[in-house]
Amino acid sequence: MSGMDPNDPMAQFKATFFEECAELTADLEQRLTDIEDGDSDPETINAVFRAVHSIKAGGGAFQFNDLVNFTQKFEAVLDDLRSDRLELTPDIVELLFRATDIQSDLIAAAQEGEAVSADFGADVLARFDELLGAPAAPPKPAVSAASSSSAAPASTSAPTAAPAVAPASAETASNSTADDGLKKYRIRFQPKQELFRHANEPLLLLRELAGLGDMAVEVDHSRLPGIREME
């Protein structure tokens, strides 16, 4: 039974998205089979990247956050593969097949409006983190498979799902209790330079943190290059 709400103003677009997901997944599986059979044409891995990228983009538009969280890392690994930052070994191809299966399950869960378990796909995500050089993500506290938001095409101009953990070379926290009984935490976050290349956005982490209580941010921009150097 479908989890689609007929009163959802986005229903027609979601229906198109799920049809497109089915086509993209079939194409993705065929391309991976071709790679497994020895196809080394760079366009093949590019096409795999584009398929996952399109699924991520559509998932973001409808706030299917579990799907977006997963495809964000899947896409980052594929980006490293197509840019030759990672080697396409048989083990990696096997991982891509497993990731495609998990992605299919997440698409199905989004379509049905069902929740997935907190550790769903955790082993593949942990392997992605290893490949991307990021620390393994802690289990999520709560999970919903799909948001059935009936808002406009999207509610934010930034990716809707924050990465579980952004690449950081140091992340420490200390806490104390203030006079008013509220707990105070001091968190030091030092992202690595490749943070953005891996599709992570530190502002999303800060936004999530800000939702937990009062927050003051102090920026150490001593290593920030000058404007001229950036351009």
């Binding site: 677009f13 049809e19 096409a47 584009r50 538009a61 406009a152 095409p153 934010t156 930034a158 290349r197």
Partner: protein, 121 residues
């Protein structure tokens, strides 16, 4: 007469959503599935604005911007890049190619329309 906008994206979902948003605001919309398709559409139509994705088969959005800026009747037409990409390298590539602006997906319809109104005049 309403302005005509060409929306280029390999995802039908995205083409439908962008088209729905623009048509709802009174714009005429033409659609293309990739850069090559877009150049064909531009060859036979007069367009006031191009909105393009980056990651597409056959010809990506950055190359499309280069091709349009390279000559022809649309060389001065505003081009907005609408993409999930937000890295500085990609943005710089878009600027270097000649893109007018950059909007990150998922887009907020009102913001998209604001930007479109601004660049369409």
């Amino acid at each position: 007469m309403s302005k005509t906008i060409l929306a280029v994206d390999d995802s039908k979902t995205m083409r439908d959503m962008v088209s729905f948003t623009l048509k709802g605001a009174g714009y005429s919309v033409l659609l293309a599935e990739d850069g090559v398709d877009a150049l064909n559409v531009l060859g036979g139509n007069s367009v006031d604005l191009i909105i393009t994705d980056i990651n597409m088969p056959n010809m990506n959005g950055i190359e499309l911007v280069r091709q349009v800026r390279g000559g022809g009747s649309h060389r001065a037409t505003p081009i907005l890049i609408l993409t999930t990409e937000s890295g500085q390298e990609q943005k710089q590539a878009g600027r270097d190619a000649g893109a007018t602006g950059w909007i990150v997906k998922p887009f907020v319809p009102e913001k998209l329309l604001q930007v479109v109104a601004k660049v369409c005049g």
